[in-house]
């Protein structure tokens, strides 16, 4: 902890400049370096259970991002995270390859996006981690239940002064694991779409009302995704593909739908999201039924959750305080319910380019059949820098 505080003091004395652009005219590349590191500490272990392996310092991000244009109509995004390159975890919240895509704006009526990047599902997915006061995204949108990134082709259309935004795309459906070189024996895609409306003007993808909005602003969105990946007999998805709870990619039909809302006014901002997955495994003896007969389960498994977050940004104090509540039910057929409170404080050394963030999680309730955290409290303290 002393070392972390020393690092924070050292960084707080730096004159941090922002990103740099190379080139000018119509061909340009902007280079950005993003760094974040935190100390993690867990406490309140269940009796007869103690695991201190997560009580350590983490290097979360060491990202090099390139954003550029060539010609008037083509843009590209490329980003690598050095902190994740040698990790075997393939963490969907924090993948090694951040972006690798092209956006073509020459069609006029829509923008086309080709390659690997964030999928247009969930408002939270559009918000950069570096603009959140928390060290973790809510569980339901963190990438364990549905992918946050994938390889695909998508479109984006803005209407009515950017107050209406429409998105749609076709993706591999393997999420972040699309890059692992693993084949998909089902040979089927995932289809994702999203629509959002904001009033009275466009609403930027930010959690914090850093501009101290002088009028109330809100945004609502709905999104859905569908895939039907049926595995041939004897074939399996690679382990990493299926995610932490083995529900991210399944053999069978999977519908995912959700809605979100955001509000901001005079430094106060709030976000709410709710999502549900309906899984219909192709195999009637699928482990997802948890030994419950398919007929009794009505041929489906439901999984979902929600979160609500409230933030207050004080410009004079350069500080943000946030509180978040979230619930997840991992499988409606068996115990897997989980509820958590989160509290965060962040202090801006130099805007969001240099930020100290502290986070406390209280795991209020967990039914322990599926995901066993076995602890009540988690603390994180660290710093993020954008250069």
């Amino acid at each position: 902890m002393k070392k972390l505080i020393l690092i924070i003091i050292l960084f707080s004395t730096l004159q941090v400049f922002s990103q740099t652009q190379i080139g000018s005219g119509n061909s340009r590349v902007q280079i950005t370096y993003r760094f974040s590191s935190f100390a993690n500490y867990r406490a309140g272990w269940d009796s007869a259970y103690l695991d201190r392996k997560q009580n350590k310092l983490f290097l979360r991000n060491a990202q090099l991002l390139l954003k550029g244009t060539f010609g008037k109509n083509t843009e590209f995004d490329f980003g690598l995270d050095g902190a994740q390159l040698i990790s075997k975890a393939n963490d969907p919240q924090n993948p090694a390859l951040v972006d690798a895509n092209l956006t073509y704006k020459g069609l006029g009526f829509v923008d086309l996006i080709l390659g690997y990047g964030k999928v247009p599902y969930s408002r939270n997915n559009f918000v950069s981690f570096f603009e959140s006061p928390f060290w973790q995204r809510p569980e339901i949108v963190g990438g364990a239940f549905f992918s946050r990134r994938d390889v695909g082709v998508s479109f984006h259309k803005s209407l009515l002064r950017n107050t209406v935004n429409l998105f749609g795309g076709v993706y591999n459906g393997l999420g972040e694991s699309s890059l692992l070189g693993l084949n998909d024996p089902s040979g089927k895609f995932e289809y994702i779409s999203r629509a959002e409306y904001s009033y009275p003007s466009r609403y930027r993808y930010k959690e914090i009302d850093e501009r101290i909005s002088v009028i109330p602003m809100f945004s609502i969105g709905v999104n859905g995704r569908y895939t039907n990946k049926v595995l041939p007999t004897g074939e399996n998805f690679a382990a990493l593909t299926q995610g932490e709870f083995l529900t991210k990619v399944i053999s069978g039909e999977k519908y995912t739908y959700g809605a979100d809302a955001a509000f901001q006014y005079k430094g106060i901002s709030a976000q709410f999201e709710i999502h549900q997955m309906r899984m219909q495994p192709s195999d009637s003896t699928s482990f997802l039924y948890n030994k419950i007969s398919k007929s009794k389960a009505e041929g489906k498994i439901l999984s979902g959750g929600f979160f609500g977050q409230l933030n207050y940004y004080n410009l004079k104090a350069r500080s943000t305080v946030s509180v978040r509540y979230e619930e997840v039910n991992m499988n409606d057929l068996v115990p897997g319910y989980f509820a958590r409170w989160g509290f965060a404080y962040s202090y801006q050394l130099k805007g969001f380019n240099s930020l100290i963030k502290a986070q406390y999680f209280y795991n209020q309730k967990e039914e322990t059949l599926i995901d066993n955290l076995n602890h009540k409290h988690q603390f994180r303290l660290g710093i993020q820098i954008i250069i």
């Binding site: 400049f17 652009q21 950005t32 002064r161 009275p200 466009r202 501009r211």
Partner: protein
Amino acid sequence: MSLFFNWLIAFSLLMNGAIKIKPQSKMRLKVNEPSDIAYTKDKNYLVVSDGGTLLKLDNLGKIILKAKQTGIDFEGVIELENLIYVSDETTRKIMIYDATTLEYTKSYQLHLQRASNSGFESIAYNTKKEKFILITEKNPITIQEYSKDFVLQGEIPFTSVRDISAASFYNGSLFLLSDEDHLLMKLSENYEIEKTWDLNLLNPEGFCFDENNNLIVISDDLEMLYNFGKIE
């Protein structure tokens, strides 16, 4: 830490001393993401947009002329001696147009190593010093003085607000607008703040003064033009 307290004191003085003003009238603009406005000799408005377009509008907001030559991200515009000077923030170019026909004439390529969206957000002309003033948006804000053929003459840091979205010379003084702090500032010759006005407006990106000395402000996100009347 002392820097922080200095900033805190300066900011408190700035906000607490600002005169709160409200618009007397407003109108919707048929311009996508308008980013700056200038008042012309022929009593019309010049408006530039984030999409890189230059337009001439009449007093009712009707588009009467559109420049054929477009850019990438126009952020500042002024009219000077029958020419129109436009700052393209992303490409770091100053593009010059004929004031009557909006025909493209030529451009100057400037150099600024920082993020694409932290380039020259505003352009003004100091008739007394015969210098162009270009101001970067943020990270950090710098006021740069250029000769008439855009050779850099001097650079002054400006730290009183979070960003600068527009600049204009009016009655011999430089006025600056901050979008994020929705603040209009009147500066001395030494670039010190003399007076401030709180516009209480969402996303004010550009401003000018018309022939009747009315303050005209445009909001980018709302695509609206606001007339605040006389402020001095």
